[in-house]
Every structure is written in structure tokens, then in C-alpha cells.
């Protein structure tokens, strides 16, 4: 990968210049569609952008200096991790990637939730701490099926490159693995029924409770970027074909991500929040079950052939 390509991927597409407006668009779409399904009008489309600007323009409340390093630093780390993860996605057919970029991507995708845990503890508020604890427990529960699914994918494609996985033939393994990743999306995005770590009625906004102004704006942005990155990941891994042209890939990728946002919103609007034990049970039972089947099929491809 040449330097120009890296910069292009980081700063223009699918990095900063593309991802930030898309993040706002997705945040808006989620709110708007939820409002419509509840019989309301909902916010205008520029809402997340103006929320961001307003929060950036807020004056800061003074806090101890050690805390403020953490509280400013963590959201920024979270935002950059989201951007880096996006830059690795094999959206177009001419993207190359490098050996082992799958591992890096998984690591980057985990950074926002890690930051969130750290932020919760750094904020020294009891609600932040409870939120952080819940986030940590949840991350254990969903990461097992998530990682198993990734391993199954990598094994069946015999490669740790995202491009190879995306180009591998469609089959039972891939479908099951992508389905497992889809199952992990609501909890990774902290939406209903798994919005346990930011349950407003129980612990305010969880880890973000003590954040205000620009720091909160960064959290919101990081959250939006998570939406873009995770839906993008599912689309990239699930899509078995590429159009060949840059424009076509871009259009398919964006529209499918938005469809995924709408599907997730429907799920979030139609459910109540579960408790952490129930969420954990769900992931251990269904998530693990699905991903283990995928892994077994991936390791022993003969079984799949036999079933057919």
C-alpha cells in the first residue's frame, strides 16, 4: 500500500471526510426513523451536526488535571480508532490490504468500548463506574461469539487478510459468521434491547455521565463512527460480489449500511431493555451456538459438503 493510498483511505474515503458526515447521517436516521415509528416527527436532518457544533462551543467545567487528560484523551482515542478501523475496510475491489489486517481491525473495533470502560472509571462517578462495569462484562459476553465468528471466517478463507475473506466464496460458514456478527451489532452499538451500559433510567448515561461540552461531542462522534464502522464491516464481509467500479462499490456499500441502520432501529424501537444477565445468556446461548457451528463447518468443510 502506497502512502497516498493510506492517506486517501484515512482522510477521504472511507476515512474522515466520508465517515464523519455518514456518522451524523446514521445518527440522524436512527433518531428520525425511531421517531416516525413512534408516531412523531423527529429531528431535522442537520440535528447531529448542530448538536456537535453546540457541544464543541460549550465552555468546560473545571476538573482535576489528571482527570481531564483522561477525559479529553479517551474520546479522541476512540474517534481515531473508529477512523483507523474504517480505513482498513475492503470496500472497493481495488483495495489490497495487508497480511493480518483482520486482526488489526478487530483490535480497533474493540478500542471504543475499552475507552468507554476506562472513561467510566476515570470519571469517578458511581454511575460511570457501574456503567463501565457493565460495559466490561458485556464486552466479554459478546466478544466470544464475535471473535469465534471472525476466526471461522479467517479459517475458511485460509487468510487473515480482509480482502481475501471478502473475496472467498459464499457458503454456510460465511453466512453463519456474518449472522453472528450481526447479532453482536446491537450490543456493540449499545442500543435496545442491549443498551445496558448506558441505561438512562438506571445509571444516567453510564460512562458518559460526567462528560460535558467538547468531550461529550467527541463521544457522540465516536459513537457515530462506530455505527459506520460496524455496519460497514458487516456489509463488507457479507457482500459476496463487487461491482468492479469504484462508484458502484461505494453506492452499494453506503446504501446497504443505511438499510442495516434501519433494521437495527426497528429492533431497538420494538424491544424493552434487557438485564445484563439476560443479555449475557442470549449471547452465550445463541451467539456462541451460531458461531461454534460456523467454526466447526469452517474447520471441517467436509461436513458442509456432506449436508449438501
Amino acid at each position: 500500500m502506497s502512502w497516498e493510498k493510506v492517506f486517501f483511505a484515512l482522510l477521504i474515503f472511507p476515512g474522515l471526510l466520508y465517515a464523519v458526515p455518514t456518522a451524523w447521517l446514521m445518527l440522524w436516521l436512527e433518531r428520525k426513523f425511531r421517531a416516525r415509528m413512534q408516531g412523531r416527527i423527529g429531528p431535522p436532518f442537520y440535528q447531529p451536526f448542530f448538536d456537535f457544533v453546540k457541544l464543541m462551543a460549550k465552555r468546560r467545567v473545571l476538573r482535576p488535571s489528571f482527570d481531564s487528560i483522561f477525559m479529553m484523551g479517551l474520546p479522541l482515542v476512540s474517534v481515531s480508532a473508529g477512523l483507523l478501523a474504517l480505513a482498513l475496510l475492503p470496500i472497493s475491489s481495488d483495495s489490497r490490504g495487508f497480511a493480518g489486517d483482520l486482526v488489526l481491525l478487530v483490535a480497533f473495533l474493540e478500542v471504543p468500548s475499552l475507552c468507554s470502560v476506562l472513561a467510566g472509571f476515570a470519571s469517578r462517578s458511581i454511575f460511570g463506574q457501574v456503567g463501565a462495569t457493565r460495559e466490561a462484562i458485556l464486552s466479554i459476553t459478546y466478544n466470544l461469539p464475535f471473535l469465534t465468528a471472525i476466526v471461522a471466517l479467517a479459517y475458511s478463507a485460509q487468510s487473515l487478510r480482509l480482502v481475501d475473506i471478502a473475496a472467498s466464496p459464499a457458503g454456510g460458514v460465511r453466512a453463519l459468521a456474518v449472522l453472528t456478527i450481526c447479532l453482536c451489532l446491537p450490543v456493540k452499538l449499545r442500543i435496545n434491547p442491549f443498551s445496558v451500559s448506558n441505561a438512562e433510567q438506571e445509571i444516567y448515561s453510564g460512562p458518559a455521565t460526567e462528560f460535558s461540552g467538547p468531550q461529550l461531542a467527541m463521544w457522540e462522534l465516536a459513537h457515530g463512527l462506530e455505527w459506520v464502522a460496524l455496519t460497514g464491516l458487516v456489509v463488507c464481509l457479507g457482500l459476496t460480489f463487487r461491482t468492479g467500479t469504484w462508484i458502484g462499490d461505494f453506492a452499494i456499500y453506503t446504501s446497504l449500511s443505511l438499510v442495516l441502520v434501519i433494521l437495527l432501529t426497528i429492533l431497538a424501537t420494538g424491544t424493552a431493555r434487557l438485564k445484563i444477565q439476560q443479555a449475557a445468556r442470549f449471547y452465550w446461548r445463541w451467539g456462541m451456538g451460531l458461531s461454534l457451528v460456523a467454526l466447526i463447518l469452517g474447520v471441517f468443510p467436509d461436513i458442509e459438503r456432506f449436508i449438501r
Partner: protein, 157 residues
């Protein structure tokens, strides 16, 4: 620079986040306040969001006369809100204590404790009056008018 200022003012006008505080009222205003979230009024159409933490809020909506038990919490919460912030007194209780005036358990009215920017009269005000009051508070938030000038102007209508 002027462009940024304009943008910020626009953003403040379009995304006011409210923190709601009942300082010991009878609940009436609070119910009407939550009715504003309901489909019929839907304050989200104006970008208004009800937040759970005072650190996220721009506008402090106070209902109820300030009782002895709530005064300390009220002051803490006001201090936790980042500038710029405005205070809206919803209903007659925070403005004048209404029926509870003269009770030894009341510390209010609110303007004895915090600077109040907008008063919304009513017992309780109708949801649309609440929203109108918040809209006026938003205008103050966006323009950052000096407080004493507003007092001279008196009624806005």
C-alpha cells in the same frame, strides 16, 4: 471568526438540551413536561432533547417552589451545568411559590437562589406554553443577551 460565531449561535438555537428539575412541586408541571415528549407535541422536532445528566444540559427547567430539602441539590446541579446556560421557571411555583408561599418549609421563590431567565406562568402551563417558554430561553441562549437588558424589556409580547 464571525462565521464561526454565527454557526455556533445557529447550533445553540437548534439543539437545546434540557435538564428537568422538580424542586418539590406537586407534579403537575412535571407531567405536562413529560407530555411534551409525547407524539403530539414532540419537542424533538425542534432538536430539544431531555438529558439525564446536568453536565450535558443547556437549559435548566425548574418546576416547583424550592423546598428546604431540594435547595442544596438545586445549587449543585446548577453548578454542574457548563456555560452557557439559562434557567427556565416552569409554572407559577418557582416564580412566586404560588399556594405554598409563606410555608416555613419553602426556601423559594427560585430567583432568590438562581438567576432566572424566563418565567412560564400557569398552574400548570399547557405543554405548548412550556415549549414557547423554552423557545424564548433558546433565543436568549443563542444571543447571549446581557441579563439586565432583558429585565428592562419586561414582557416579550
Amino acid at each position: 471568526m464571525r462565521l464561526i460565531k454565527k454557526l455556533v449561535s445557529m447550533a445553540r438555537r437548534r439543539s437545546p438540551w434540557l435538564f428537568h428539575l422538580n424542586t418539590g412541586g406537586c407534579n403537575g408541571c412535571d407531567i405536562e413536561f413529560s407530555a411534551c415528549l409525547a407524539p403530539r407535541y414532540d419537542v424533538e422536532q425542534a432538536g430539544i432533547l431531555l438529558v439525564g445528566s446536568p453536565r450535558h444540559a443547556d437549559i435548566l427547567c425548574v418546576t416547583g417552589p424550592v423546598t428546604r430539602g431540594t435547595r442544596a441539590a438545586l445549587e449543585t446541579i446548577y453548578a454542574q451545568m457548563p456555560e452557557p446556560k439559562v434557567v427556565v421557571a416552569l409554572g407559577n411555583c418557582p416564580a412566586t411559590c404560588d399556594v405554598f408561599a409563606g410555608s416555613p418549609a419553602i426556601e423559594g421563590p427560585l430567583d432568590r437562589i438562581l438567576p432566572v431567565d424566563v418565567y412560564v406562568p400557569g398552574c400548570p402551563p399547557r405543554p405548548h406554553d412550556l415549549i414557547k417558554g423554552v423557545a424564548q430561553a433558546v433565543a436568549i441562549l443563542a444571543d447571549q443577551q446581557p441579563r439586565d437588558r432583558r429585565i428592562i424589556e419586561g414582557v416579550n409580547q
